[in-house]
């Protein structure tokens, strides 16, 4: 893999969104991944709808949580995703208002990534931003810099937040993952969280996945 890579510099990442008081991080993580995949296949960056998943993904629990693997399957079943503008985010579950006529992006399948962080980095650099999940304990009070909490604060088996890996690199010799979060731009570094890379910290390596667009 290259020493560093950041999909924000290559136009594959939409602006930071805000899930509000709703546990819909899984939807933001998955749409972020599909936005990147769609961009890499078609050359256009489109902001996609999370509300469609909150309302219409029957395999998941809307604001009470969900799983990226279920979301990919639901998107395949539904036939694709509408744009953010057409099916806007409200942060509350409502009845499904999806219409296939407004689909702008579809997926064909989904993949589970290796748990080796070096392989994840190589895959990301070659294929686009990756949906991941982690233990978010240290994130509540994070402001900036590269976060490297002690393991006792960040049990890798207590994964409770889905996010999007958009890049990686080193800052002052500290390797890190650049993570797009969904708590608004006033969180962390303009909405991003940087996590130490290389020691499977906070379980960041456990749930890497991506949609496939043929």
């Amino acid at each position: 893999a290259p020493d560093s890579w950041d999909w924000r510099d290559h136009g594959a990442v939409t602006s930071v969104k805000n899930q509000g008081m709703c546990g819909s991080c899984w939807a933001f993580s998955v749409t972020g991944n599909i936005e990147g995949q769609w961009f890499l296949k078609n050359g256009t960056l489109v902001s996609l709808s999370e509300q469609e998943l909150v309302d219409c993904d029957k395999l998941d629990n809307a604001c009470r949580g969900g799983l990226p693997s279920n979301a990919y399957a639901s998107i395949e079943t539904l036939g694709g995703l509408e744009t953010e503008a057409d099916y806007s985010y409200t942060g509350h579950k409502a009845s499904c208002d999806f219409t296939s006529k407004k689909v702008v992006a579809y997926i064909n399948s989904s993949l589970e990534l290796s748990k080796d962080e070096k392989e994840i980095a190589a895959w990301l650099a070659e294929n686009g931003p990756v949906s991941v999940a982690l233990n978010a304990f240290a994130m509540q009070f994070y402001k900036k810099g590269v976060s490297h909490p002690l393991r006792i604060f960040c049990n890798p088996w207590m994964i409770d937040h889905a996010v999007l890996l958009v890049g990686y690199g080193e800052r002052k010799g500290i390797p890190f993952w650049a993570i797009k979060n969904s708590w608004g731009e006033d969180y962390g570094e303009q909405g991003y969280y940087n996590l130490y890379r290389g020691s499977k910290l906070c379980g960041i390596n456990q749930m890497g996945s991506s949609a496939v667009v043929n």
Partner: protein, 237 residues
């Protein structure tokens, strides 16, 4: 800044009976501070409360007018149960106005104001400023920290446009905010990277609230995960 309301206008002053437990505590605190600030050999204690009221202002502000008299105890004896001199010898030394600011959720009290005058005089005069009264004890430092904490909380509320429905809720959020500052400090001191932790828009939420509102417990339940095909490793450099 102490006089400016933090959560809305202060409540109206309420007159108190001498038996009010909060008032008793405030009187003891005022007495203690009063004695620290005088050169008298004997302890003086409140022999009569002339009037007392309390007001909700970021805690409770007690306003007490009291008569203080000499006891038979020398200051050095540090006895709490000192008898007053018999009535015939009782020297009504002073009448004082005290303002005590009590913050129950922090277990701290501050003497905001003390005006005393000899019992015979008609109007009280300010004998000491708070700074002069109290040497910088650990209690004084705690009070400074309380004021700093309130300042930080106020800034947090303004920055993140936080509003609380009642004084009780505001008090509770302040407690949580205080606790979270300690957690952030712990994370900061033990962080092995270059991160900065501190006040964020989630600083008034308990860990449980934060988790139930913003996080996703389903992610850790492995048995719910739908199997997916493994991705082929990256091929090129």
């Amino acid at each position: 800044d102490l006089d400016r309301p933090l959560f809305g206008p202060p409540g109206s002053p309420v007159k108190l009976l001498d038996s009010d437990p909060g008032l008793k505590k405030a009187v003891l605190f005022a007495e203690e501070r009063y004695n620290l600030g005088t050169n008298a050999m004997h302890l003086r204690r409140v022999s009569r409360i002339i009037s007392a009221s309390k007001q909700l202002v970021k805690g409770i502000r007690y306003t007490i007018t009291a008569e203080l008299s000499n006891t038979q105890c020398k200051k050095s004896s540090m006895l709490r149960t000192c008898d007053f001199y018999p009535e015939s010898h009782k020297l009504k030394t002073e009448v004082c106005l005290f303002e005590v600011w009590d913050i129950p959720w922090q277990g701290s009290s501050t003497l905001l104001r003390q005006k005393c005058h000899p019992a015979a005089e008609s109007s009280p005069k300010e004998t000491n400023s708070v700074d002069e009264l109290v040497p910088p004890t650990s209690q004084a430092l705690q009070e400074q920290e309380s004021v700093k904490l309130l300042g930080m909380f106020k800034e947090f509320m303004v920055k993140y446009n936080k509003g609380y429905r009642t004084q009780e809720e505001a008090d509770q959020r302040l407690q949580i905010f205080h606790q979270n500052l300690k957690t952030a400090e712990k994370l900061q001191s033990l962080d092995q990277g270059s991160a900065e932790y501190g006040v964020t828009k989630f600083s008034d939420l308990t860990e449980e609230e934060f988790s139930s509102i913003y996080l996703n417990p389903l992610l850790s339940q492995r048995n719910l995960h739908r199997p997916m095909k493994p991705a082929a490793p990256a091929r090129g450099p």
